[in-house]
Amino acid sequence: MQPGRLRLIAGVLALVAMAVPAHAATITVVMENLEISPAEATAKVGDTIELVNRDVIAHTATAKNGDFDVMMPPKKTVTYVLRKAGTVDYYCRFHPNMKAVLKIGGEPSR
């Protein structure tokens, strides 16, 4: 392989590395038997929240302040990328007794 080609590849790889935050984390939240765990989770902007529904009925993860409203079909896992910082109270629209808190820090994970 020519040296110029190698440099090009290295350059492209460096660009890709800059575009994707190095360690965007994945935070898992489980809904099972109509309970959300953990009841309080911490994340950063850019992190992915993985929502696992272990019940046979659908739930939602709905932010009280309107920041997000994610449908969670029965026995499925869905993901959602956090875009906004803040302490967000969220609940299930179908079963409003299901409640939890997500603390989203402003500085993206590195």
Binding site: N33, L34, D55, A58, P74
Partner: protein, 172 residues
């Protein structure tokens, strides 16, 4: 209002009355009561889906059909696994009779009046079932799996009650 209150009180009396006072409920009887309670709410929701006009009321009714069908299927699977035959009893018969009367009563209403009456009855009905689950059915259940299904059922019924309250508040 009086009719609703009367119906709720009648149901509470049924669930705590002689039928239950005579002795401890057996697991087959408990399973049947819980199953009947779910079916009653499905029938009410299906009526609402043909009559309701408000979109939140319709969405609520869809949710009731979806949730109660899913949980009743679990209940049937458990009953099969435990090899018990669900047993009709005075409580489940009385519940079903009362529900049939309510369906007929709501059937005469239409438009916003129907929406309001359906949602108000959903709040009252879920409250009644929650009370029965908490004070009678869960404490009486002996099989651990049945008990745990009833406990999950209680949380779902409590969630539906809160959901119905929110929908009711939105109708005012």
């Amino acid at each position: 209002m009086f009719a609703q209150l009367g119906a709720a009180i009648a149901a509470v009396m049924l669930l705590s009355g002689p039928a239950l006072a005579e002795g401890k409920l057996t697991d087959p009887q408990i399973a049947h009561i819980a199953y009947a309670a779910g079916n009653i709410d499905i029938a009410a929701a299906k009526q609402a889906l043909t009559k309701a006009s408000n979109k939140d009321v319709k969405a609520f009714a869809e949710g009731m059909v979806r949730d109660h069908e899913a949980v009743n299927k679990q209940a049937l699977d458990l009953v099969k696994k435990l090899n018990v035959a669900p047993e009709d009893n005075d409580t489940s018969k009385a519940l079903s009779k009362q529900a049939a009367d309510k369906l007929a009563e709501l059937g005469k209403l239409s438009g916003a009046a129907f929406d309001k009456a359906y949602v108000a009855n959903e709040v009252a009905y879920h409250k009644t079932v929650n009370g029965a689950l908490e004070t009678k059915l869960i404490p009486s259940a002996s099989n651990a799996e049945l008990k745990s299904l009833l406990q999950t059922g209680l949380k779902m019924f409590q969630g539906h009650e809160q959901h119905a309250e929110r929908v009711a508040a939105g109708l005012k």
